[in-house]
Subunit: 156 residues, 2 copies
């Protein structure tokens, strides 16, 4: 067999030259986030809950009566995306909107009794999911990671 | 003014109770990735290039003739998403498909001359984008971050 195009194709199987990509902050954090979310998706498949949905439910559980604008802003979710996401959770009977006492034009968000019950299961799933990753870098590694990611995204 | 519902609403302005959310690995990496991508989007608005599109262009620049399946696998992009993304770049004249010499059923990916010219501009934008974030944590911080994210996403 000659050193032909076949050989070149064979070389490809050893992997592509990634160049500087794996060292870029954006690429690095994106791939890490994707890997973590993949584990989340697998664990939460039966509950049919995505990471952003869990964040919304958790924030409402911690802050019953919070306004929609507060919750979306705190989580960095665009208001145009938050509406449909909340609607879907409401249709599943997990959350509800009620007029805000102090300002009847605003709506306050609450978990339903069914939502409260779901949170017990979801929190347990998150705990196991989180423990898997903390185990890999240790508690000190987690603190260092938090500090670096905080510094990375703070500033002018 | 009495300590009424108004006071409670006022309290909300100080921010919601985030509970354990900011300490969860998934939330942490997602928010960091979002902040980094926000800077990317602002810098690349005139070029109309998103982070995933840059990764695809860069990988093809580094590996001319790579196959579609190799590029999508290396970047963790689902094949169903890769096709339309590549088509859009092809319609803009930045990339092209050619039959693979060793296997005429497969297609090899290349940058066009216009794509090569674009990469010079895009690489310069990425360099400035990256420098902004590295400056915040230093080169040693970057190495530590890389190590932690690698450990975080490696394992059983």
């Amino acid at each position: 067999m000659t050193k032909s195009a076949d050989t070149k194709v064979k070389d490809r199987d050893d992997g592509l030259d990634m160049g500087p990509l794996p060292n870029l902050m954006g690429y690095l954090t994106r791939r890490a986030q994707m890997a973590i979310f993949e584990d989340f998706h697998a664990r939460f498949a039966d509950e049919d809950i995505r990471p952003a949905q869990y964040s919304v439910l958790k924030l409402i559980a911690l802050n019953p009566g919070a306004r929609q604008t507060e919750v979306s802003a705190a989580l960095g979710i665009q208001r145009s995306n938050f509406g449909p996401m909340f609607d879907a959770l409401e249709q599943r009977g997990l959350v509800e909107r009620r007029p805000l006492e102090a300002d009847r034009r605003s709506l306050a968000l609450y978990l339903t009794a069914s939502g409260e019950a779901a949170m017990v299961r979801l929190d347990a799933l998150v705990e196991a999911h989180e423990a898997k990753f903390v185990k890999r870098i240790g508690l000190q590694g987690k603190v260092t990671l938090q500090t670096l990611l905080f510094l990375l995204t703070s500033g002018e």
